[in-house]
Amino acid sequence: MSSKTTIYGFLFVGLAVTLALIVAPAVYAVSLSFYQMDSFIGAPKWAGLANYAAVLQAPEFWRALVNGAIYALGSIVFQVVLGIAFALVLNETFPGRNLVRGLSILPYLLPTVVVILTFKWMVDGGIGIVTKAVEAMGLPPINWFESPGAAMASTILVSVWMWTPFVTTCFLAALQTVPQSLYEAARVDGTTAVQRFFHITLPMLKPILTVVVLLRAIWMFNKFDVIWLLTRGGPVGATENLAVLSYRRAFNLFDIGGGAAIATISFALLSVAVLVYFRVFPLEDD
């Protein structure tokens, strides 16, 4: 077989897999949003833009959009700030460093369900360790899932807990590529440790920061499992984002077209956001 045939062979297989597993379902999902459907069995009825009109007129859509933005922004900010802080600590030499580095990635390796269950136990009203601790400090009990603010805080807290290790790992890898002599030159140049962070570490981390923030933003904006398992979007929709709303609409309220419309809008919004993001933070600078 000539090398050209080989290349076309691989190209064909790759394209076929992409088409079958990514493009086709996406096109199918988008097309669903133009039909009126209450199950996958009955014949779909053409609905034009009616699903979109209905979805956009419902206040719950706008609420979910805002909730999603708060949740994504909140968890990214904490993940990135804590991720950098932990990476800086783990980049120092201290006894048992490798063990601590290994352990710190653990939360990321656990299945979401396990993390959520652990968290629920920890804040359990009767036996939770956090509840006991709050009690011991003489503070009033926190209603983790009943008050809207606390529920949003819980989802953010759990997400930060789960994904900070990923961010830490990315930054730790990047920190190790910063030449030591840059810090030495800066020490000779008369900088303090804080100045070295802002003049060397942060600029050197910028490329990875750009990518990590983008990846986390996309994942967090589309997050479903954490919210669904933790709060089901409650109380009364206080933690419901577009992903949860779309699911609820399609599978609990049997409005598949409406759910698909929400998913499509969410996809479009995210695409625009990513384009804008790359405009503002180009990957290749100078």
Partner: protein, 354 residues
């Protein structure tokens, strides 16, 4: 400007001693080169002067100040790193200005110094660029410039030219020599290239395994190496070293018998050294018979490698054409050019002339 004084400066990493007590005074305005093979402790010593490495014991003074415990920024030193260590995301201008800004110098003064350094180093056209957009030689100049603008008491340079190609290395060597003449500030320069050391230094500090072997002017260490190590390390091609013994005013090794200068206080086992360029060729009858095995043409000179009296010898002579291996010729060992070393300690044995 200031004198730098190291007193019994030591560095140990755990149980490994990298630098054994070094005593050294670098005079105001002097160009001192640390020379030695890899791992001998040159960089460690330099970095202790810079304050980037803590001393295990000993004292470092710059001028009247004891700087042993001071941070690098408080020592008034400037350093040039082997890999340049330019801030990659800052422009050349900002790279040069950074150290001055951190010292809260006023803008006009910073600009004046940066422009002056840029002029001296031919960097005027690159000030707006980032380091990535420069060639290796240009980056090296920026690294020099960053040290220059600081107007420090001493420049510390750790193998600054080793990342450049041979041609550029020679040119930058000249530039550094010129720079030293222009600014007149003390420089301490680390290299393992003896040509750099010979051409740049006022004094060379030769190190091995964390010990100073000899300190002296380039020609001093060339003319009177203090021990076998220095004798073998300085000079290219390497000095011929022959092990033998002293018998009635003669050096004897195998069938080789060489008259020693009168008045030499040597006896027993010694090592005789003579530089390839100091061996003289004569008619076969007048000297020791030398058989050529390999001929290396260096252009202006010819290096003949062969043997005399069972000993391997390198002889460097003015260019000869048309010789071939197997050639026989006489070789003389001028008494004034002989170096003698005690075999046990490797130390130089004084001859009357010196």
């Amino acid at each position: 400007m200031a004198e730098i004084r190291l007193e019994q400066v030591r560095k140990a990493y755990g149980g490994v001693v990298a630098v054994h007590g070094v005593d050294l005074t670098i005079h105001d305005g002097e160009f001192v080169v640390f020379l030695g093979p890899s791992g001998c402790g040159k960089s460690t010593t330099l970095r202790m002067i810079a304050g980037l490495e803590e001393v295990t014991a000993g004292t470092i003074r710059i001028g009247p100040r004891d700087v042993t415990e001071l941070e690098p920024k408080d020592r008034n030193i400037a350093m040039v790193f082997q890999n340049y260590a330019l801030y990659p995301h800052k422009t050349i201008y900002d790279n040069l200005a950074f150290g001055l800004r951190m010292r809260k110098m006023d803008r006009a003064e910073i600009d004046m110094r940066v422009q002056k350094a840029a002029r001296m180093l031919g960097l005027e056209d690159f000030l707006a660029r980032k380091p990535k957009q420069l060639s290796g030689g240009q980056m090296q100049r920026v690294a020099l410039g960053r040290a220059l603008v600081r107007e420090p008491d001493v420049f510390l340079l750790d193998e600054p030219l080793s990342n450049l190609d041979a041609k550029l290395r020679v040119r930058m060597r000249e530039e550094i020599a010129r720079l030293h003449q222009d600014v007149g500030t003390s420089m301490v320069y680390v290299t393992h290239d003896q040509v750099e050391a010979m051409t740049l230094a006022n004094r060379i500090v030769i190190m091995r395994d964390g010990h100073v072997q000899q300190i002296g002017a380039p020609l001093e260490v060339y003319d009177r190496p203090a021990n076998l190590f220095v004798a073998g390390f300085i000079g290219s091609p390497e000095m011929n070293l022959i092990e033998g013994r002293v018998e009635n005013g003669h050096f004897v090794a195998g069938s080789l018998r060489i008259a020693l200068p009168p008045g030499v206080e040597a006896s027993g086992e010694i090592t005789l050294g003579i530089r390839p360029e100091h061996l003289a060729l004569t008619a076969e009858a007048d000297g020791v018979a030398f058989t050529v095995r390999v001929i290396e043409q260096l252009g202006a000179q010819t290096l003949c490698i062969g043997e005399a009296g069972g000993e391997r010898l390198r002889i460097l002579i003015d260019r000869v054409d048309g010789w071939s291996p197997g050639q026989s010729i006489g070789v003389r060992f001028p008494a004034a050019r002989l170096h003698l070393f005690a075999k046990s300690s490797g130390r130089r044995i004084a001859t009357a002339k010196q």
